[in-house]
C-alpha cells in the first residue's frame, strides 16, 4: 500500500523529488553490509586496472597528469570505502586521532583490501606533517612494467588516491603521492591545521 501511494503520479501536484524511476524490490539500502568474503581473480582485477590506466593515459600527455588522473579515480574509491569500513568494522565511529587513523589504514584497511597489512608506517624525521606508508609490492603494480621513458610513473598512485580519499573524508586533509622507494612509498603530507588539531586533542 505504501508503495502505491508513492508511485501514483498526480499531474495536479507533481512529486517534488523523484530519486529514481527504477524501484527494485529490495533497495540497495536493505542489503546487509556484512562481509561476504567475496573474491575475484587477480588476473581479472589487474586486467581491469590495466584498462583503467590505458584509458587515463589516452586522455593526458604527461606522466604527472596521468598520475593525477589515477589519483582522482582512487579518491572516488576511497570516499566509498571509508563509509563501508567505519559502518561495518567500527560501529559507525570514525577515528579522530591522527595516529589511530593512520594505523587503521595500515592494518584494517590494507588487510581488507589487499589481504595483508602494509609493510611499514614511518614518520618523517624532519617534517612532522609527513608520514610514509611503505609497501614492497603493491597489488596493482604486480604485472606492470613501466616503460623506460616514463621511469617516474608509479601506477600505485591509484592506491595513493584511495588513501587520500579516505583521509580527506575523515577530516584529515592531506595530499598522498606514490614514489619508487623501498618498493613503493606512499608519502602522506598533512595540512598544518591537521597537526595543530591533533596536538590540541592531545592537550585535553
Amino acid at each position: 500500500m505504501f508503495g502505491e501511494k508513492i508511485s501514483v503520479y498526480n499531474p495536479a501536484s507533481p512529486p517534488t523529488m523523484i530519486i529514481s524511476q527504477v524501484r527494485p524490490k529490495t533497495s540497495i539500502l536493505d542489503k546487509s553490509l556484512s562481509k561476504k568474503r567475496g573474491e575475484v581473480s587477480l588476473s581479472c582485477y589487474t586486467l581491469l586496472f590495466s584498462e583503467l590506466v590505458q584509458y587515463c593515459q589516452n586522455k593526458v600527455h604527461t606522466v604527472p597528469e596521468l598520475q593525477n588522473k589515477l589519483c582522482d579515480l582512487g579518491q572516488e574509491v576511497g570516499i566509498k570505502l571509508i563509509d563501508l569500513y567505519f559502518v561495518r568494522e567500527r560501529n559507525c565511529k570514525r577515528e579522530t586521532k591522527l595516529l589511530h587513523m593512520l594505523l587503521f589504514i595500515k592494518t584494517t584497511l590494507w588487510k581488507g583490501l589487499f589481504g595483508k597489512e602494509a609493510d611499514k608506517l614511518e614518520h618523517a624525521n624532519d617534517d612532522e606533517r609527513i608520514y610514509y606508508i611503505i609497501e614492497k609490492e603493491p597489488l596493482v603494480n604486480k604485472y606492470i612494467s613501466v616503460p623506460k621513458d616514463k621511469g617516474s610513473l608509479n601506477c600505485a598512485m591509484f592506491i595513493a588516491g584511495i588513501v587520500e580519499g579516505i583521509l580527506n573524508a575523515a577530516g584529515f586533509m592531506a595530499k598522498v603521492t606514490a614514489h619508487w622507494h623501498k618498493g613503493t612509498t606512499y608519502m602522506v603530507q598533512f595540512e598544518e591545521s591537521v597537526i595543530v588539531k591533533d596536538k590540541q586533542l592531545d592537550e585535553k
Partner: protein, 178 residues
C-alpha cells in the same frame, strides 16, 4: 614451462576493491562522454581488450581443450565466470538451433553497491562483459555477439546476457592493437 613457486589460481583480490574500481571507471566514463551509448561502446571495447588476454590465462589455468559444440562453449564460459568472478551464472533459454543461449546472473560483483540514477537508464552497466566474451572467443576462432536483455539494476528480477554464435572464424588474423 612452468615456473616454480607460482601456484595457479591461488591469487585472489577482494571483490569490493574490484567493484569500486570498476565503479570509478564507469563514473569517469559517464563524466567524459556526453552520450550514454558511447559509454556502452567504450566499456565493450575495454572488455574486448581484456578478453583477448584473459583467454590465454583461462586456457593455461584450466587446460581445457577444444569445444565440440556451442553447448560445450557455454559451459566453459560459465566456468570462466566461476574462475574469474567467483559467480556461476545459470545457462538458460537455449534457442532451438542451439546457437543462442542466456547467462542469468543473480549476484554479480560488478554491480554490488550500484544504483543507477535516472539519467543513466540507457547505461549498460556491465557492458564490459559483452566485450570480454567477444574478445576471448575471437581468440579461439569464434565470432559471437552478446547483449543484455534484462538488467537487475533496472528493476528486472535478474540480469540476463544473451549470447549468440555468429560464425567460426577461419584463418584468424592476429589481433592488432585496439
Amino acid at each position: 614451462m612452468s615456473r616454480p613457486g607460482t601456484r595457479l589460481d591461488s591469487k585472489k583480490v577482494n571483490s569490493e576493491l574490484f567493484t569500486l574500481t570498476y565503479g570509478a571507471l564507469v563514473s569517469q566514463l559517464m563524466k567524459d562522454y556526453e552520450n550514454v551509448d558511447d559509454v556502452n561502446k567504450q566499456l565493450e571495447r575495454m572488455g574486448y581488450n581484456i578478453g583477448i588476454r584473459l583467454i590465454e590465462d583461462f586456457l593455461a589455468k584450466t587446460g581445457s581443450g577444444r569445444c565440440y559444440d556451442f553447448r560445450d562453449t557455454a559451459e566453459k564460459i560459465q566456468a570462466g565466470f566461476r574462475l574469474y568472478l567467483g559467480i556461476t551464472p545459470t545457462l538458460a533459454n537455449w534457442s532451438a538451433s542451439g546457437d543462442e543461449f542466456s547467462l542469468q546472473f543473480e549476484a554479480n560483483p560488478l554491480t554490488e553497491f550500484v544504483e543507477l540514477p535516472d539519467h543513466c537508464l540507457n547505461l549498460k552497466y556491465c557492458n564490459i562483459l559483452t566485450g570480454v566474451l567477444r574478445g576471448a572467443l575471437e581468440m579461439v576462432q569464434m565470432d559471437v555477439s552478446s547483449t543484455f536483455v534484462q538488467d537487475h539494476l533496472k528493476g528486472d528480477s535478474c540480469t540476463e546476457l544473451r549470447v549468440k554464435f555468429i560464425k567460426r572464424l577461419e584463418d584468424a588474423i592476429p589481433a592488432g592493437e585496439d
